[in-house]
Every structure is written in structure tokens, then in C-alpha cells.
């Protein structure tokens, strides 16, 4: 306690080593390696679809609809054709980008909003905390899917098959509005805890500005619990997107996303075209599983109590 600046350095060093340790633990776990490989594959499909298929997913011949993939991974249609006679492999590959972009957009926006509101509420307390907490209560009371259904149906304009933003915009916005609360809660709790720690008090005594304390000292510790739930939440967003698509409210056909593929696939699976359901379903499950496993490991690694 002799030098007042030192605790800050210690705390930051502790933060850094926590992340380093977490990275080191995770690197050794086989499930994390597997999850990472799956995610790399999926991200590659989203970023460079043409590496995986040379077919145009919008060229669909009605008379060629639902050709089963008898020639697995080779031939004219490597995975057969879909319900509209488009190349199924091309549809899947090109449907990956909207799904992934939507999930990432939502997560980035909600983490930023959640952290910001949470830290503000936790740090300042008082009426700001009361206000943010009330808003939090109100949104928590409406489950994410119900809220998204409500917004998307009420303000369903003319769907458009134009560019990516128009395609995923409405669904992304609706999901954002109803999924920032968890991050906010975690950030607020962590902030309240950190606010009273010695090094923060010390920084304040030294006359640091509120904004500096929040961003330099509190935010790093508030990010930890939030980070631990991020991968799992991404998985949940992908699932919710597919649910919305099945309900006809998410991404609108003829634009594709995994959800759109699944909603068509479920219809035809019962009629004997199991591949139309099975292939996108496996892809979805693998991805969500990878995110969940990754998140699970991350939570263990970042939770000091369990170490």
C-alpha cells in the first residue's frame, strides 16, 4: 500500500494473466480444438462461398426439383437439388453468410450495448441505475422469441430479396432489442463488485476521471463474465433465427439462410426427402454445438472459483 499506483498495475497484470491462462487451458482441450475447427470451416463458407461451390444458387429449374444426392459430393449436383430445383450445395453454402453475419451483428451490438448500460448503471447507481434496471426488467419479462415475433409481425413491411442488409436487417434488429439484457446484468453486477475494490478506490482518490475509471479499470473486469456467455449466446441466436424462419418471420425466401433451408426441409423430410432436412440440420447442430462447447470451456477457464 506504499505506492498508490501499483495496485492498478497489479490488477491489470492479473487481468492479462487471467486471459493468458484461459487461453493456455483452452488450447489443450480436445473439445475446444474440435469446436475451433468446425467454426473455422463455417466461417470460411460464410466468407468465401465460391471456394466451396461454383454453382449459382439462384438458378433454379422447377422440373429438376428434389433430385436426391445419389452421387454424393460429385457430379452435376453434389448434394442434389432443393425443393425449387436449385443446386442444394450452392444453396447451403450461400445460405451460411446471412446466418453468420446476422449472429455476429447481433452479438456485437448487444455486447456493446449491454456492457455500456451495465457499467453505467453499476458505476453511477442512483436514478440512472433505477432507470436502466426498470428497462431491464421490462425487457426480461418478454421472452426473446415472443418479442421478436411481435416486432417482426407488427412491422413486417414488404420483404425484399435485395442485399444482405435488407435480408437480415429486420430479424437482426428484433433479436438485438430482446437479447442485450443478460450482458447488461452481468456487467452491472461485475461493476458494482469492482467499484468497491481497493484499486478502483485508489484510482479515484488519485483524482482519475469517471470515464477513465470506467474504461481502464472497471470495464476489463466486467468483460470477463460477459465474454463467458458470448459463444453460447451466439448459438442461441442462430437457433432463434431458424425458429423465426420456420415461423415465416425471419429471413425471407428467396434469400436463404439456414433457417430458411430448415423450414423448407422439415416440410419435405416427412415425404421421404430426409437429406433436405438432415444436411442443414447437421450443419446447424454442429455449429451451435461448437459454440456451446467453446463457451462451456471458456466459462470454466475464466471462472476463478473453479480453477
Amino acid at each position: 500500500m506504499s505506492e498508490l499506483t501499483v495496485p492498478t498495475g497489479q490488477a491489470e497484470a492479473a487481468q492479462t494473466s487471467l486471459w493468458k491462462d484461459a487461453f493456455r487451458t483452452m488450447r489443450r482441450r480436445p473439445d475446444v480444438i474440435l469446436a475451433t475447427l468446425i467454426l473455422l470451416f463455417v466461417f470460411a463458407m460464410a466468407a468465401f462461398p465460391t471456394l466451396f461451390t461454383d454453382k449459382d444458387p439462384t438458378r433454379c429449374i422447377g422440373r429438376e426439383a428434389r433430385q436426391r444426392p445419389d452421387t454424393w459430393f460429385t457430379g452435376e449436383h453434389p448434394l442434389g437439388t432443393d425443393a425449387f430445383g436449385c443446386d442444394f450445395a450452392a444453396t447451403i453454402v450461400h445460405g451460411t453468410r446471412p446466418t453468420i453475419v446476422l449472429a455476429l451483428t447481433v452479438i456485437v451490438a448487444t455486447v456493446v450495448a449491454g456492457l455500456l448500460l451495465g457499467v453505467l448503471a453499476g458505476y453511477f447507481g442512483g436514478w440512472l441505475d433505477a432507470l436502466i434496471s426498470r428497462v431491464l426488467d421490462v425487457f426480461i419479462v418478454i421472452p426473446m422469441l415472443l418479442g421478436a415475433i411481435l416486432l417482426l409481425s407488427l412491422f413486417r413491411g414488404r420483404g425484399s430479396s435485395g442485399n444482405l442488409i435488407e435480408t437480415i436487417g429486420p430479424a437482426a434488429l428484433a433479436l438485438m432489442i430482446f437479447s442485450w439484457m443478460e450482458f447488461c446484468r452481468y456487467a452491472r453486477a461485475a461493476t458494482i463488485e469492482a467499484k468497491n475494490l481497493d484499486y478502483v478506490q485508489a484510482a479515484r482518490c488519485l483524482g482519475a476521471k469517471d470515464s477513465r475509471i470506467m474504461f481502464r479499470h472497471i470495464l476489463p473486469s466486467a468483460i470477463i463474465p460477459v465474454t463467458a456467455v458470448v459463444p453460447t449466446t451466439i448459438g442461441a441466436i442462430i437457433v432463434t433465427e431458424s425458429a423465426l424462419a420456420v415461423l415465416g418471420l425471419g429471413v425471407q425466401a428467396p434469400a436463404t439462410s439456414w433457417g430458411v433451408l430448415l423450414s423448407k426441409g422439415t416440410e419435405w423430410a416427412g415425404g421421404g426427402y430426409v437429406y433436405l432436412f438432415g444436411i442443414p440440420l447437421s450443419l446447424l447442430i454442429l455449429t451451435v454445438f461448437a459454440f456451446a462447447a467453446f463457451g462451456d470451456a471458456l466459462r470454466d477457464a475464466l471462472d476463478p472459483k473453479l480453477r
Binding site: 439462384t58 430445383g85 425471407q252 416440410e267
Partner: protein, 554 residues
């Protein structure tokens, strides 16, 4: 002595039946179980009302036409209106109609079915303030305006955005009268030869006095005059059972009753049909193929022409679509067979006329080569019309029920592939779509469709393409067409009218304000335990239905 013997024989016979059933294995076991004796298990959707005039949708109507007897009943084969409650319907000038009602008919509660019962029902529906869905059916009857006054002039509204409507004291149609209890006299506001063909519809069924005294109770346990009768209240979620009305004076149905099982939006009966819990069902698109290929099921399949049409209409008010050759090009570029392959075969048939063949005067094939897939012809026609505007997308406007999106996506794919133009689907919510379509705000081809109210080709022509460019959705107007329609309405006989309406359809074909795509095809499957399954072209509802007056349980 004799009596005892009879009883023994009966017992023996029953025993035999039971053991037979047991021997034939699990299949008939399944079928016998739930229904018991002679109850047919039918599927039904969400019912809006069970009092005539209040439903206006297929599900209420499909139940109601078994509970109520109307003046006429459409023949299941020809579609002609046969007298049921009416003894005779006649008119000298097609404007004043005299309807004689059979003597001695009663409602299920004992009230007489007389002219008053019809007048009571029709007045209730026609009275604007009751806000009943089938109100518009009475606009042809004299005095309708008095019950449905137009909104006051704008200056007199309390709120500048809300039309104010004067209260009307008149609650009875002046065109209806009963010279004697069994004679109903109807005066129309203009001559209409097709009036008797309308009378088999729900809007024209009679209503008992007791029913109107307590409509809430009557919705649950309707008081009809038909062959079936509810004993227990009908439940909108759980359905209900109607039993044979023992005192029905007409031909008694062969079954003891019917149990309606409700399937709400999105749900369908197919899985329950396969487990033996439903007797007549239409498979969803994805199950058609496996159902048709199953030799056991294929024997119990009914295939016949339906009456609902699906049409791609053109916005004639938009300059892009002003050239008839462009419209023809688009129509010829649609691979109707290919689209069918996408949305499930056997649900529709390609259509090449505006009035389908199952309707009186329909099936003339006036669209001809332009309704047949021909890529070369389509491209030639497009060239003749000056080509497709560079860089523009073909925008197809549809209302957003899932089925439409699939159908029109497949249509769009076909047009895009054939004519090498890009397209997009613009789905709209139903109410928006209706309003925008009517306001001529759509800048591309749009979905249109029609289901018949009665069996006359006029029903597919006048309401859809008549009224002038400002009125109909396509913005279509042709003086010859309108003249022909008017000529037909004043025809002396129904045959002559049908012929003149067909000529009007031919004029329409020359202008091609819309491209006929499909007519629905009835393709229902029925269970092993029922027989004589008749699917009525006008009365049957979607999803699986049969004439309960005719169906037999084996």
C-alpha cells in the same frame, strides 16, 4: 317365441362381426376403435360462425350445409341447383322471383320452415349494423341501400379521418315479402338470371326464431333444418359431434353422425389419417408422392377437378405492362408443369382459361398457346414487345401465406430462366396486399385468385374484370367486354346467358389482363372403413371433405 329367436340370431350375427373384426388384424382394429358405430371422423379448420350469413368461409359453410337445408341443393355431378326446401322457383322478368316452399317442414326445435324463416335470416344478414361477412350477397335485392346507408358527406364527420355513418331505422329489405306463409317473393334491384343458382349458398339459409332470440347459444348448438343436429355445444378448438336428426323429413343419411376434429392454422390431418383417426384427408404437398405411390392408399384416393383458380394478374395501369405481347411472353414463359413439380404434383392442374372446366360454361381453353410453356415463343413475343427494360427487375407481388411464396417463387424462377430477366418476390401482409392491389399501387404482376360462390361462369368474369379500369384490380377496361357482360345478364335463358358470358371470356383472352396458372385439383384420401365418398365441387372444403349425406360406413 319368434322374438327370442330373432334376438338370438342378432346376437350371433354381432358375435360373428366382432370375431371377424378381431381376425382381420390391427388395421381394422384401429379404425373401429375411436369412432364406434357409425360416426364419421372428419377434419375441419377454424369455424367463424354456425349461423347462416355469419361465416362466409369454407369451414363454417362445410359444417352448416349439413345442419341446414337451403332452398336448393347443388347437384354433386352437374352443379345444377336442385330444389330442396323450395318446391318451385320462377320469374317472368328475372327481376321478381316467386319461391314456393314445401309444406310441413320444420326446424329441429319444431318451428315451421316457412317464408318468414327465410326473410328473418336474410334481413339479419343484410342489415349493415349487424356487420356480417355475407352482407354483400344481398346487394342485388331491392331495398339493400336502406339497410346499408352510405357514409355521410365529409363535412358532417365528427373526426375528419373517420367516415360517419348514419344510423338506419330500416331493418327489413323492401324487396322481400310473403304473400302467404309458404310463398316467398323476392324483388331484385336489376334483372339477374342467375339468382336461383345463388340460393344454395349459406347466405340464403333459413334461421329459426329461437336462434335469433339467443344467438350466442345458437352459435354453440345451432338450430338447423337439415339432416344433422348438434346435441352438445360445438367447441371452436375441440370440434364437436353432430348426430343424425331422427325426424329429418328428407332422405336420411346412412351414417349415425359425424365428429369434426379441429386443425388450426398450420396443422393438418395427414398424420392422424395415417393412424386411422381421420376418415377423409388431403395430404400436404410433401406427402403426396409417398401417398400416391403407396398401393394400399392409392386405391382409396379421389381425384377430380376443383374450382379455385390461381392467376398471375398484370397491372395494366403500369406502362411496362401495356403491351399485350409482353403479357403473353410472361405467360408463355411459365413452366406450369415445372412449377407443379416444385409445389407438389396433383395439388393443382395447369389452367388455360379464365373459367375452370368444372364451372358451368368454363374450360373453353381461350388462353391456348400463351398458357403453354414455350421458351421460343416467349422470347419471340418479348422481342416483339420491344424487350424487357434494361436493368429492371420483375417484381411479383404476393400476399405472404407460405404456399403463395413457394408457388410464385417457382413461377418467378421459371420466368427468369426462360426470359433471362431478374425477378424478386414482394410478399405483403394480406390486408396491405388487398388495399394496395385495389389502389393500383403494385408495379408488377401480382397474385390473384378466385373461388366460386355459385356455379356460373359469370362469377369468374364480372366481379374480377368488370366495372371499368378504375374499379377492378388489373385496371382492365374494354367496351366490347362490358357490353357482352351486360347483354348476358339480360339474356332470356340461362343457357343463352352462359353462351354470352363465354363470348365475353374470349374477348378477355384477347386482351390477356392476367395469365391463368392453375386450377385446384381435389385429391383426397379416405379410410378403409368408409365408402361412397363424394367430394362436392362447390360444397366441399379444403383439406379433406366429403358429402356426409352420401357417405357410407362399411
Amino acid at each position: 317365441m319368434r322374438r327370442t329367436k330373432m334376438a338370438v340370431a342378432a346376437v350371433a350375427a354381432t358375435g360373428l362381426a366382432v370375431s371377424l373384426a378381431a381376425c382381420t388384424g390391427d388395421e381394422s382394429d384401429l379404425d373401429g376403435g375411436e369412432g364406434g358405430g357409425g360416426i364419421v371422423q372428419m377434419q375441419v379448420g377454424e369455424v367463424r360462425s354456425l349461423i347462416p350469413g355469419g361465416s362466409g368461409e369454407s369451414e363454417g359453410f362445410r359444417i352448416m350445409h349439413n345442419l341446414y337445408d337451403g332452398l336448393v341443393y347443388y347437384d354433386a355431378v352437374t352443379g345444377d341447383p336442385d330444389y330442396l326446401v323450395a318446391e318451385d322457383i320462377s320469374s317472368d322478368d328475372n327481376q321478381t322471383w316467386t319461391i314456393k316452399i314445401k309444406d310441413g317442414l320444420t326446424f329441429q326445435n319444431g318451428e315451421p320452415v316457412d317464408a318468414e324463416a327465410f326473410i328473418r335470416s336474410w334481413n339479419r344478414t343484410a342489415y349493415g349494423a349487424n356487420a356480417l361477412p355475407l352482407n354483400y350477397f344481398f346487394s342485388t335485392i331491392a331495398g339493400y341501400e336502406d339497410l346499408n346507408p352510405p357514409p355521410l358527406p365529409e363535412e358532417e364527420w365528427d373526426d375528419p379521418d373517420t367516415p360517419k355513418i348514419p344510423e338506419s331505422d330500416v331493418k327489413e329489405l323492401s324487396g322481400l315479402s310473403a304473400p302467404d306463409p309458404l310463398t316467398l317473393q323476392v324483388e331484385l334491384s336489376a334483372p339477374f338470371i342467375g339468382f336461383p343458382t345463388m340460393l344454395g349458398y349459406e347466405a340464403f339459409y333459413p334461421v329459426a326464431e329461437e336462434c335469433l332470440a339467443d344467438t350466442a347459444a345458437c352459435e354453440l348448438v345451432p338450430i338447423g333444418n337439415g339432416p344433422f343436429k348438434f346435441e352438445e355445444p360445438y367447441d371452436l378448438e375441440a370440434g364437436g359431434t353432430a348426430l343424425k336428426w331422427e325426424d329429418y323429413p328428407g332422405e336420411q343419411p346412412s351414417i349415425d353422425g359425424v365428429r369434426w376434429h379441429v386443425y388450426l392454422d398450420g396443422a393438418n390431418c395427414w398424420a392422424d389419417y395415417l393412424t386411422g383417426d381421420i376418415d377423409v384427408c388431403r395430404p400436404p404437398a410433401s406427402d403426396y408422392e409417398s401417398a400416391v405411390n403407396d398401393p394400399d392408399l392409392a386405391e382409396r384416393r379421389i381425384v377430380q377437378d376443383g374450382t379455385s383458380t390461381l392467376v398471375l394478374a398484370f397491372p395494366l395501369y403500369d406502362d411496362t405492362y401495356a403491351d399485350v405481347n409482353l403479357r403473353r411472353a410472361i405467360s408463355a414463359a411459365i413452366d406450369r408443369e415445372g412449377v407443379l413439380n416444385v409445389i407438389g404434383p396433383d395439388r393443382f392442374n395447369p389452367l388455360d382459361s379464365w373459367v375452370p372446366a368444372s364451372i358451368n360454361g368454363g374450360g373453353q381453353g381461350f388462353c391456348g398457346e400463351y398458357c403453354t410453356y414455350d421458351p421460343d415463343l416467349a422470347n419471340d413475343l418479348l422481342e416483339e414487345a420491344g424487350g424487357w427494360p434494361e436493368g429492371e427487375k420483375l417484381r411479383i407481388w404476393v400476399n405472404d401465406s407460405a404456399d403463395n411464396l413457394d408457388v410464385f417463387r417457382a413461377i418467378g424462377d421459371s420466368i427468369a430462366e426462360t426470359l433471362s430477366i431478374e425477378y424478386e418476390i414482394v410478399p405483403m401482409e394480406w390486408t396491405d396486399f388487398l388495399a394496395e392491389r385495389e389502389a393500383h399501387n403494385l408495379d408488377g404482376p401480382f397474385r390473384s385468385g378466385w373461388g366460386p360462390d355459385y356455379n356460373l361462369n359469370e362469377n369468374y368474369l364480372e366481379p374480377v374484370y368488370g366495372g371499368g379500369a378504375a374499379t377492378n384490380d388489373q385496371g382492365y377496361e374494354n367496351a366490347d367486354y362490358d357490353a357482352k357482360i351486360a347483354e348476358a345478364a339480360g339474356a332470356a335463358s340461362i343457357e343463352e346467358a352462359v353462351q354470352l358470358y363465354a363470348e365475353a371470356e374470349e374477348i378477355l383472352a384477347g386482351d390477356m389482363p392476367s395469365a391463368p396458372i392453375f386450377v385446384e385439383q381435389v385429391s383426397y384420401f379416405y379410410s378403409e372403413r368408409v365408402d361412397n365418398v363424394v367430394v362436392h365441387p362447390i360444397y366441399s372444403g379444403p383439406g379433406g371433405d366429403a358429402e356426409l349425406r352420401d357417405i357410407v360406413i362399411k
